[in-house]
Symmetry: C2
Subunit: 383 residues, 2 copies
Amino acid sequence: MQNFVYHNPVRILFGEHTIAQLPTVIPQGSRVLMVYGQGSIHRNGVYQQVKTALNGWSLLEFGGLEANPHYETCLKAVEICHQETITFLLAVGGGSVLDGTKFIAAATLFAGDPWSMLADNAPVERALPLGCVLTLPATGSEMNGFSVISRESNQEKRGFGSPHLYPQFSILDPSTTFSLNDRQVANGIVDTFIHVMEQYLTTPAQAPLQDRQAEAIILTLLEEAPKVRTIPNDYAVRANLMWCATQGLNGLIGCGVPQDWSTHLIGHELTALYGLDHGQSLAVVLPGVWMFNLKLKQAKLAHYARRIWGMTEGSEETLALAAIERTEQFFRELGVKTRLSEYGIGPEAVQAVADRIKARGLTLGEQGNIGSDAVASLLTMRL
Amino acid sequence: MQNFVYHNPVRILFGEHTIAQLPTVIPQGSRVLMVYGQGSIHRNGVYQQVKTALNGWSLLEFGGLEANPHYETCLKAVEICHQETITFLLAVGGGSVLDGTKFIAAATLFAGDPWSMLADNAPVERALPLGCVLTLPATGSEMNGFSVISRESNQEKRGFGSPHLYPQFSILDPSTTFSLNDRQVANGIVDTFIHVMEQYLTTPAQAPLQDRQAEAIILTLLEEAPKVRTIPNDYAVRANLMWCATQGLNGLIGCGVPQDWSTHLIGHELTALYGLDHGQSLAVVLPGVWMFNLKLKQAKLAHYARRIWGMTEGSEETLALAAIERTEQFFRELGVKTRLSEYGIGPEAVQAVADRIKARGLTLGEQGNIGSDAVASLLTMRL
């Protein structure tokens, strides 16, 4: 096991009717800006629940944040924070709204060009305090200090993180997720699944508890995923999927183990250039990363084949290959396509993405062996 | 899944050589009281590592805290805190030292009779800030806000808890545990195991992720426990046991599920009256609680039999009974005896403990069905 630091101060309020507890967790006297997305919270009743809970509070609103929240839109909210001397940000929505709100929180108190936090790792030394009402389980952003922002003007999608970006609280009411459509649910499951894999499917690290904690999430996802389609209003199923998503990226399963994240960084480029949903981009890329690093990852892939898929027959390589194939099949069973061509993306994408990785000087993966040539190779396998 | 709140702000610094990081986590300018136990930290080098790390700091010492820390001893430390205007407490040792330090932290700032925090649930509204260097994995106290204190004068052992009692940080260097003796290691494994069971082995709660997270700890304990006896200086094994202990009682696996804790409350009385080690008392009581509540717990016991012990044959009751037997055998394989008579405790203990449960008006277990008569019944099974 590697040395690690674990510190996650987010307060989780989980369960039915928890939105009503908002007044107990937002600091009294705050000037609150409620940030939300494209309006689903009007349709599912969450908007009204928040307004009712915060009746009498100083509460302004900023709606319209996009999926893969736009830098340009966030900057409009930053202006409002300045003009209205906002002291607390309340994200109401899914991971995109939350990520956008984190960026707004940091940019409002950032002295220089806020893009430098995303492009140049300029340190985030402070941020407005923020909390969240989550309505879409997927990103884990509700219990971590990370955020990913897309800039329309140059088609860039970049992440950043800081201890200052942990939500002070996150309210998770699974009943708010009943109204999600199949595509949102499937993308959320894929996203959670691959967050776990970025921290689990690397090389053996003598960290059996972390392995089993990761497997706990994956096995629960595999059990619950089919149920959500047949009984969409089952509270327990929704609750389990929601808690899986949070546990998938709150730092716990990554304690003391190598981490990959190449699938995410390559997937971000596919989203930025071609508009794939985040979950879709990951489902396309992951099998390619695993095939490219088959030798490096073979032992862990075989372990995964045995533990998750109950495979026992054959060599380590056979098991590893079977696990990759079965994983892709799982995404397809969820209704998420796994080939670039299925999204109408042709071979030109291979070099386009590779060039971007090259321009950024990135070498990806847990051993840093995925440069731009490797990206081209593995994306070619995903055409 | 039940509604829940999860909030755990402890900063964990895990790994080799992490004691040297003490100056980065104790607030600058603190007047520190270092609290420790019976002197093992002198023998294993931890005392010197702490002194070296804090060279130049305002640092006083209070040694001599007992296993099952004594109320009376803690009050002596409280006097020092007042006299010396201590502003930060540093626990260096195992769970007992940490629990004692938590009590000292609360009692120093408590206005009334400090025993009332333990006996009457008097609310803990503030406490001195504290941190810890852990040297014995077992109690989980390093990542929670609980503490258990023993009062010699009336042979009472009582617990209390508060959000103000979370350590600000806990430093976990597995190499500090190489020098533990077999009894300490075995007790620590039993304690961790039963912490998990108090939160897991109740009734099914439609919380499959929490179940699997609990099983992750148990399965890891079962794998690592035999190794620690054959290769005592294996860092990875020690690291895994240490992280299991922390994960066993940091709130995570208890999210949204029923909890039992009757084994602990009955076990505390055995320790208070007869001086059993905490782990020993738990190993004695647990099978009795399970047998007494066999019908209530049958479904979960059978689930546990399948998931942990790989048992598949027979009725639910057969599986449940086999799991209880196998669990007791596991404790015995660790060298921990599981019968009162093996500790020289006779039938008089049955009524003595039951009377104490009655005097306190306690009804124990996840459904509150274990009163004093039930305690007498189940302890009779453990003679």
